[in-house]
Amino acid sequence: MPVKIACFLLLAFLGVQPSLLTQESSRVTLFPKPSEDLILAVGDVQAAPGSAGTELASALETFNRVLWDDLSFAGFFTIAGRGFYPPGPIVRPETDIDYEAWNAIPFKVSFLTVGTVSLSRNVLRAEVSVYDMKQRKRAFGKAYTGDPGQIRTMAHYWADEIVYQLTAGTSRGIASSRIAYVSRNGNAKEIHTMDYDGYNSRAFTHGGSLNLFPHWAPDNSKLAFVSYRPKPEITIYSYLDGSRLPFPMFHTFASSPAISPDGSEVIFALRTPRGDPDLFISRLDGSNRRNITNNPAIDSSPTWSPSGRQIAYISGMPGQVHICDSDGSNVRRIVKEGGDADGVAWSPDGKWLAFQWKPRLSPNYEIFVVDSAGGAIRQLTSGGGSNEYPTWAPDGRHLAFQSNRTGSWQIYTMLLEGTEPRRITHSGNNTSPSWSGYFRRD
């Protein structure tokens, strides 16, 4: 994004339309940018009058950095570079915003976010607002309070509020969403969760065994994963109170659970007496279990369509992307290019299937998408190690995946077009990301 901003500013100086830059720099236009002309300025939040101190200064620095990163990565706006902002802090917006000076910069800012933070008795209070620079008035605002350890969360909430308001509810913002993943710790693999930008990581399991394939319930109330006890078994935990929910053990090989969009069922792969894994759907307590791919092929990595009426999955060896209806009938192969595919994930808007794919003779997997109704596949990642197991952000505009491009397995995020990759884990080995649903509710 910084590169894009710099180019935008350069072109703005030269009088070139910013949309030209977007068209030329994007390899594949998978989604239109609805607010291409919506230019957002992110003014630094200031200390509230009468507040000062080192702790407050640190909080301000964090808030401003997190807010900038969140809004830059949101994918909805063009962010105006700070170098062009009129000088002077904005503490009292009614008097401090010099609209004439803002009008004089080389591009028209649509909205400006400003605010103040105070610290009193170890309680932070952020009062933030967005100003409509065309109407020259306050558009909306919020106040957040918390302890100093929550300053990042406050910035995330405010970023989500801005996205929500300025996109007219198209997105609720992903800044307060979380990503579950597998972190290797010696011989053990534990499930962790972290903020979408990689901060605030917490271990969810502590068993010292192997825990794999985490998957969020769409309402974030549960986490399903595979836990070795000692055979790999489906395990479902409440994310709210950390309790384990009852689910039968099959004493065979179970993998890749995924909870249905309405939260009532779970699909998973289970080895049959025949020896090959099939896909089974059951209620969340394991009852009413039925085999929906009753055939000798290896079936794995199921993912639900948003309606819950279809399942995309990997079948065969090498793996191929298939779709069937949730009753198991009407099977069709979606990707016909051959090679080996895995890790298929259905986008929240239903339009795309993301998956990893390795052409014959290629050493590495790359991330691709294909229209769920069928069609040509489109490559999102290229070069640098193997890129695997894509997972969608709830806004359907971002993806997370695992990659070993730097030598160890780490989690990355990117925009749907494959642009703006960000490495969000930095130590150890981290794999199998699963992006949560929205945490902010309407």
Binding site: P32, P34, S35, D37, L38, S110, V130, D132, Q135, R138, A139, F140, G141, Q165, L166, T167, A168, G169, T170, P261, R290, N291, I292, T293, N294, N295, S305, P306, S307, G308, R309, Q310, C324, D325, D327, G328, S329, N330, V331, W346, D349, G350, K351, D371, S372, A373
Partner: protein
């Protein structure tokens, strides 16, 4: 790969030198395909525009509701103000806070309307720049994919509308049996089981040679089971096992038959007229 492609192109161009006419034809074909691609893009945009307008419309309705609710709260406040005796300071403070919150809410609503208006304006401008070329009928592929998009998102009524339009416009279309299967599934999603059976029956009767017949039979059998029509369901399941033993549905049908047999001995399967 790229080098091979370049070599091929070079060879093709050398071979094409004496055949200037062929080159012109190629140009024409390329131009035609460009025009077709442009038409497709325009249709895609039209689709997106319509969806956007729909969502904006629903947002406006929501906002109106919100405004109406705010109006009610204001009424309550004014009633409270009338009933309050000359007012304690505490009550005044509460009222002021309430009014401040309401005022913020109104501001937020205003901003969202403003953001929507801006988006709507942009869409209108883009739409106008496309001119009248956006109106021609949708190609079978676009029509099907549009309905499929509604289907996977769970917009079942819209999906039924779209798939029905596909089947009636392109009854011999490649995806007509798929469209009917999806119509049936959409009816199941709305708990309209008899309509679902009717859609699956159309696949079985009208597209008897289609590879989708085993799917239609299996789906119909499951709906029949849900409707307590076990004999019909058993007949459909046996039909799959006997006539389409290589289909993916054969294994599912056999498992279903085994379950039915285990729960209750099945009578000889003969389809009952409905």
């Amino acid at each position: 790969m790229k080098r091979n492609l370049l070599l091929c192109l070079l060879a093709a161009s050398i071979a094409a030198c004496p055949l200037a006419e062929a080159g012109t034809k190629e140009e024409l074909v390329r131009l035609q395909s460009d025009v077709l691609a442009l038409q497709n893009q325009i249709r895609e945009f039209d689709k997106g525009y319509t969806e956007k307008l729909d969502s904006l419309r629903s947002l406006v309705i929501q906002l109106n509701d919100q405004a109406a609710r705010s109006g009610l709260v204001l009424d309550r406040i004014s009633a409270a103000m009338e009933n309050t005796e000359a007012g304690t300071r505490e009550a005044d403070r509460n009222l002021l806070e309430e009014v401040r919150r309401l005022s913020e809410k109104v501001d937020e609503v205003g901003t969202r309307i403003s953001a929507m208006a801006q988006q709507l304006g942009e869409l209108k401008v883009q739409s106008a720049s496309l001119g009248p070329a956006t109106s021609p009928g949708l190609s079978p592929e676009v029509l099907y994919n549009q309905a499929f998009g509604d289907f996977v998102q769970g917009n079942f009524d819209l999906a039924i509308e779209g798939f029905s339009a596909y089947v009636s416009t392109y009854p011999a279309g490649e995806k007509a049996p798929d469209a009917l299967l999806n119509i049936g599934d959409s009816h199941i999603g709305q708990n309209r089981l008899p309509q679902a059976v009717a859609a699956f029956t159309r696949v079985i009767n009208d597209y008897a040679e289609s590879a989708k017949v085993p799917s239609a039979l299996y789906k119909r059998a499951r709906v029949e089971l849900a409707m307590q029509e076990k004999e019909n369901a058993t007949a459909d399941l046996r039909h799959i096992v006997e006539k389409f033993p290589q289909s993916p549905e054969a294994g599912l049908a056999q498992a279903e038959l085994d379950r039915l047999t285990a729960s209750k001995p099945a009578a000889p399967a003969r389809r009952k007229a409905r």
